[in-house]
């Protein structure tokens, strides 16, 4: 019996989607220098994107976007947060027909997945929490609300005390909705447990970042990004345990003097629009071209879980306040009108990681990041740090163009290094 058009379309979507994800996983695996213990992270990405399976949990899942949704609250409701920001090219091409042409590819990919109804991580969500951080997120929240249960979080434009108070109210409201959806009451104990789970993962992350800073390098940035991306689909404690093993192997590598390379590669920092699996073409290109992603200031990378919630008052309200403060005060997201602290954060990362050049990633249509480019270019210019703006989309058509620009940028950094330290591009990748 012949299949229907919809069945054929779905089949084509699944084939293309899984092929792309498998290809990028293979490229990651082929990249030398992966630390021991990275397999569970690859397995998670494979499970979600190649096998198109459900998240490995028996709990209800709550979809989240952006870094402002506190995972602690979701764990406290005995559910699991799943970050739904997507980097999928195939879903993007479907979303291209639904969302406006100039919408950012991340939002188009989300719209595409929701439209096909084929991606279990999206379909399983009991609720989606959408912080309104930009115009696209604002409008996609409205669009998603027609298709599933959606709660929005109004992210204030400034971070004054009154704004934090307003956000605290919203977190209480979110708490009620989570209780309704999961049927579980959020108690002092369950919230504390949520803090413990996320806190453990954050502790392991801070260790990982400390080890990642080592010179010579113990891990490549692309591998680190795969690890950080997989956090979206793993329970925090499981992810933390897996990361602990990676940290142990990195510690062992220090004592064994086993590094990614003995050569001095140009140290590059990535900042700007998020890098979401499988759209990891830029970090892969950087490292395939002979650079190393030594710094990462993106919200799906280190920034995503970097800041721990600091509890100064150990009452229930104190914990909610800690979550609100953590979500807004240290966050260098360009959604805030005054985002000077992003510049401080970048300068801090440049100093700590001895960065030699910055790649400013702008996803087409991501206006908020584009607006901040000029100021950052000026500020980093004062430090004599070269910056290039790379605009890209969710497809592979621009790969060669990006390759040439990244190659030229890496050459430029090499030329700035003292002569004896100039190294050639590695041929053995």
């Amino acid at each position: 019996m012949s299949s229907t058009l919809k069945e054929r379309q779905d089949k084509r979507f699944i084939t293309k989607e899984t092929q792309t994800a498998a290809k990028y996983l293979r490229r990651l695996e082929e990249l030398s220098g992966a630390p021991e213990g990275i397999e569970p992270f690859y397995d998670t990405l494979k499970r979600i994107y190649v096998d198109m399976a459900h998240v490995d949990t028996n709990k209800k899942t709550v979809g989240t976007y952006c870094v402002m949704t506190p995972p602690e609250l979701i764990y406290a409701a005995d559910a699991m947060p799943v970050k739904l920001c997507s980097g999928n090219y195939t879903a993007f091409s479907i979303g291209d027909d639904i969302a406006p042409r100039d919408a950012c590819p991340l939002v188009k990919a989300v719209a595409g997945f929701k439209q096909t109804g084929l991606m279990p991580v999206y379909e399983d969500c009991s609720m989606m929490v959408v912080p309104i951080t930009c115009d696209c997120k604002k409008k996609i929240a409205g669009m998603l609300a027609d298709r599933c249960e959606v709660t929005t979080l109004h992210i204030p434009a400034s971070r004054e005390d009154k704004d934090i108070e307003m956000f605290i109210n919203q977190l209480y409201e979110l708490m009620e909705k989570l209780e309704d959806v999961t049927g579980n009451r959020i108690t002092y104990e369950s919230l504390s447990e949520g803090f413990r789970k996320v806190g453990y993962a954050q502790y392991e992350l801070s260790e990982f970042i400390r080890l990642k800073k080592q010179m010579p390098y113990l891990i490549r940035g692309s591998h680190a990004m795969a690890i950080l991306n997989s956090a979206s689909y793993m329970p925090a404690d499981v992810w933390g345990k897996a990361l602990h093993k990676v940290n142990q192997s990195l510690e062992k590598n220090i004592s064994d003097k086993k590094t990614v390379t003995s050569k001095k590669l140009p140290r590059i920092m990535l900042t700007g629009s998020p890098i979401v699996f499988p759209n990891i073409k830029i970090p892969l290109l950087i490292e395939e071209m002979g650079g190393i992603v030594a710094g990462d200031e993106t919200c799906m990378g280190e920034r995503g879980m970097w800041d721990p919630a600091v509890i100064t008052d150990d009452s229930f309200d104190g914990m909610i306040r800690a979550l609100a403060n953590r979500a807004l005060r240290p966050c260098p997201c360009p959604t805030f009108a005054d985002n000077s602290q992003r510049i401080y954060r970048l300068k801090q990362l440049i100093k700590e990681n001895q960065i030699q050049g910055v790649i400013y990633h702008v996803l087409r249509g991501c206006l908020v990041y584009d607006f901040e480019y000029k100021r950052i270019e000026e500020e980093l210019g004062k430090l004599d740090i070269p910056v290039i703006r790379l605009e890209s989309d969710y497809n592979e058509e621009d790969i060669e163009q990006l390759r040439i620009r990244i190659e030229a940028f890496i050459e430029l950094i090499k030329l700035k290094q003292p002569h004896e330290k100039i190294t050639s591009v590695r041929k053995d990748f």
Partner: protein
């Protein structure tokens, strides 16, 4: 620099000239042209309070003793004054607003307080730029979901703060009297405009559609709201007089609704094209037009000063149709109600490049209008004039399609 000034002057004067030529028999209309001219070319102006965009209740600013100086965009010339300051994909309205602020040898904004309603990303980031330049800013961060439990309260608190900030800037106390007075002034002006728009609807033989939009836009250029209200009423009378003298003998053009990005003076290529293509604008559905509908009943003008501000915030947040919301239900309802009443044969959905929120809203509007078999024509453009001929061809095709629909309906009935 001279080139930029020339572009600005040419566009401004061309639009004014065409408006004058098309409506020369209306003596009362000239006052509005003069108002627009003097707004653009008056020197030595140093406004106290500047508002970027229109999505703010001006009655609160007036209650605090200031007359708002509006910057609402609309000019290709002013876009060129901000070209190096914003990313390539920034929408022309935000560019134009920033351009006006950076216009050389013009208005002195050094002591101004900038009120910025954050309806989109560009406004958010422009606010940061202005703050970095040392300008005094006051933000109105509109809660995007009206269904949230604390949204109204949050909005009301912000409006109270806005009032206090303006009051501190102008050193004028907000009182119950000043608030009621501002509410009355604004209500009168909006009611006069609503009357004018209703009276002049469909009388393209007396006043063109672009002139009707222009009268509406001139609200944001006047330095005296009372005088503006008086002149709108006079113009209404004049239109009414001509209408009573003769019936519209012009060919009854297909009636359309213009929705999406608001059309702002002097960039009138869309209304001019609509007229050239043989169409008539029955109604506009954008947040600037829908603002006209926010008026205050007598019962809302009683109570303490705080109660009055709460009433203003309540009405405004309930009926604001700006794209600041996740779901723009106010706009959908308005379009749905208008279409149900009849008289609309098609919708021209105007999207300015970069104003992505309107594009997102289009899907729902299209779905809704398809139930009434009303065709929607999406027209994307910016403030440049290079695409005029392309748009003209498309607009003419749309006009022909609407005319065909008429014949088809007549044939069906017969």
């Amino acid at each position: 620099m001279e080139n930029k000034n020339n572009t600005f002057n040419k566009e401004y004067l061309d639009s004014l000239n065409r408006l004058y030529n098309d409506n020369s028999k209306l003596t009362g209309f000239k006052w509005f042209l003069d108002t627009a001219y003097s707004w653009a070319y008056k020197k030595n102006v140093s406004p106290d309070v500047v508002v970027l965009g229109t999505a703010i209740p001006e009655e609160l600013i007036m209650a605090a003793g200031a007359e708002p100086y509006w910057l609402i965009g609309g000019s290709l010339g002013s876009v060129s004054w901000s070209d190096d300051l914003v990313p390539r994909d920034t929408d022309p309205v935000s560019r134009s607003i920033l351009g006006y602020i950076n216009r050389p040898d013009s208005v002195d904004f050094s002591n101004s307080l900038f009120i910025i309603p954050l309806i989109n990303d560009s406004m958010r980031k422009i606010a940061y730029q202005l703050k970095s330049e040392g300008k005094k800013i006051c933000l109105a961060d509109i809660p995007p979901s009206r269904n949230d439990k604390y949204a109204q309260e949050n909005y009301t608190n912000q409006m109270k703060e806005l009032c206090a900030t303006v009051s501190a800037h102008t050193k004028s106390k907000v009182s119950k009297y000043s608030t009621v007075s501002a509410m009355k002034r604004v209500s009168n002006a909006r009611a006069a405009l609503a009357r004018f728009l209703e009276l002049s609807r469909g009388r393209t033989d007396i006043i063109t559609d672009s002139a009707r939009i222009f009268v509406q836009n001139s609200y944001y250029m006047t330095d005296s709201m009372e005088r503006w209200t008086y002149h709108v009423e006079s113009l209404s009378k004049e239109v009414d007089f001509y209408a009573s003298q003769s019936k519209n003998k012009e060919y009854k053009r297909p009636s359309i609704m213009v929705a999406g990005s608001p059309v702002i003076f002097p960039n009138y290529k869309i209304p001019f094209l609509i007229r050239d293509a043989g169409l008539a604008i029955y109604d506009s559905a954008d947040y600037i037009t829908l603002k006209t509908l926010i008026t205050y009943k007598r019962s809302m003008m009683y109570g303490s000063k705080d109660k009055l501000i709460e009433n203003i915030a309540l009405e405004w947040y309930r009926y604001d149709a700006s794209p600041a919301y996740t779901q723009n239900d106010v706009l959908y309802e308005y379009i749905s109600d208008t279409v149900k009443k009849g008289g609309i044969e098609g919708v021209v959905y105007h999207v300015l490049k970069g104003q992505i929120e309107y594009d997102f809203e289009l899907e729902k509007i299209e779905n809704m209008l398809s139930q009434y078999s009303i065709p929607v024509f999406r027209l994307e453009t910016d403030y440049q004039y290079q695409d005029v001929e392309q748009l003209r061809i498309r607009m003419e095709a749309f006009s022909e399609m609407l005319a065909q629909n008429r014949y088809r309906k007549v044939k069906k009935v017969s």
